[in-house]
């Protein structure tokens, strides 16, 4: 944050920094594809993939979209609102398990996802 204070109109960050962010994004994508190759069980896949994707999104927002060099005021206006709204959207999600039970019945175990 503070690195930006003296140079507001300049585009902070060197090309070297951006290329290294890009390499990190590629590496994380490669890791995700590798997980698809070894075919982890779907729950592990989901958790690890979402973790990696959130890291990638954070890298893109912070460096490519320049958020890390913006005033804290702007960051605090945008980021928490989006994160909270997305968490609120997730409230619906557990209902899908109920819908699954309704559809496939309680007595007979629902077919597992592969």
């Amino acid at each position: 944050m503070s690195a930006h204070a003296e140079s507001h109109d300049h585009f902070a960050g060197t090309n070297r920094l951006f290329v290294s962010v890009w390499v990190w994004l590629l590496a994380l994508t490669g890791f995700e594809v590798f997980l698809g190759y070894i075919r982890l069980p779907v729950m592990y896949m989901l958790v690890i993939l979402m973790g990696a994707s959130i890291i990638k999104a954070a890298l893109i927002v912070a460096y490519f979209m320049h958020m890390r060099f913006e005033r804290l005021n702007l960051v605090m206006t945008i980021v928490p609102a989006v994160v909270i709204c997305i968490c609120l959207l997730l409230i619906f999600f557990p209902d899908s398990f109920r819908a699954r039970e309704l559809r496939y019945g309680n007595a007979q175990a629902a077919p597992e996802q592969r």
């Binding site: 951006f18 290329v19 594809v33 959207l89 699954r100």
Partner: protein, 215 residues
């Protein structure tokens, strides 16, 4: 002491620009906020129908996942060229910035072409928005026909964003010399956002639907 007070008032700037960005840039950020909620809603809706149904996992690692990984590579590289455009524009090299923006638009168009090839592949296989191919139904008995709806819906909305992004970038590339630096930065914001969305679409739609039987 005087300089310290001056620095403070400069930072405050009379409250005219509380975020220290122009109104257009703030507008783009607000648009990105609302658009990210659109995509979250789509992806969470997809997760909902997927968790409550038998869901086909049809993508073979090769060619399916490898092909979509190449699409991801193209889109990530287009983000890098966009950053290069903004950074050359910040140094006042407008014609170079314009070339980088053109390169970004070309990579975006490449992404669309690759994506359409993939769509055609699935459509030829018999996937429709509300219908699965017969072989899939034999392989995954009772599978929901919503696979096509979520696949074409989510990737379609994303592809539409890439398409409008390409047009936006072409306009910016042509007018690069007349525009302010911040305007070029704003077009970059939009483009990186489209890339960011793909970082969620790719794992959720493709990597979580790898065919466990086929290599």
């Amino acid at each position: 002491m005087a300089t310290e007070a001056q620095a403070l008032t400069n930072d405050w700037g009379g409250g005219v620009h509380p975020y220290h960005v122009g109104h257009r840039k703030l507008g783009m950020w607000l648009f990105i906020m609302s658009d990210s909620l659109t995509f979250s809603a789509l992806l969470i809706g997809y997760a909902y129908v997927r968790a409550s149904n038998v869901w086909p996992t049809p993508f073979s690692f090769y060619p399916g996942i490898v092909f979509s990984s190449i699409m991801t590579l193209v889109l990530l590289s287009s983000s890098l060229t966009m950053v290069m455009a903004v950074s050359s524009s910040a140094k006042g090299r407008r014609s170079r910035a314009s070339k980088w923006i053109l390169a970004t638009a070309v990579l975006g168009a490449t992404f669309i072409v690759l994506h359409l090839i993939e769509w055609k592949h699935l459509i030829d296989e018999g996937v429709r928005p509300f219908q699965l191919p017969q072989e899939w139904l034999e392989r995954w008995p009772g599978a929901t026909p919503l696979f096509g709806a979520t696949f074409f819906g989510i990737t379609g909305v994303h592809m539409f964003h890439v398409f409008t992004g390409c047009i936006y970038l072409l306009v910016v590339a042509v007018r690069a010399k007349k525009l302010k630096h911040e305007d070029i930065e704003i077009s970059g914001l939009y483009w990186h956002f489209v890339d960011l969305v793909w970082m969620f679409v790719f794992p959720m739609i493709y990597l979580l639907s790898v065919d466990p039987g086929k290599h």
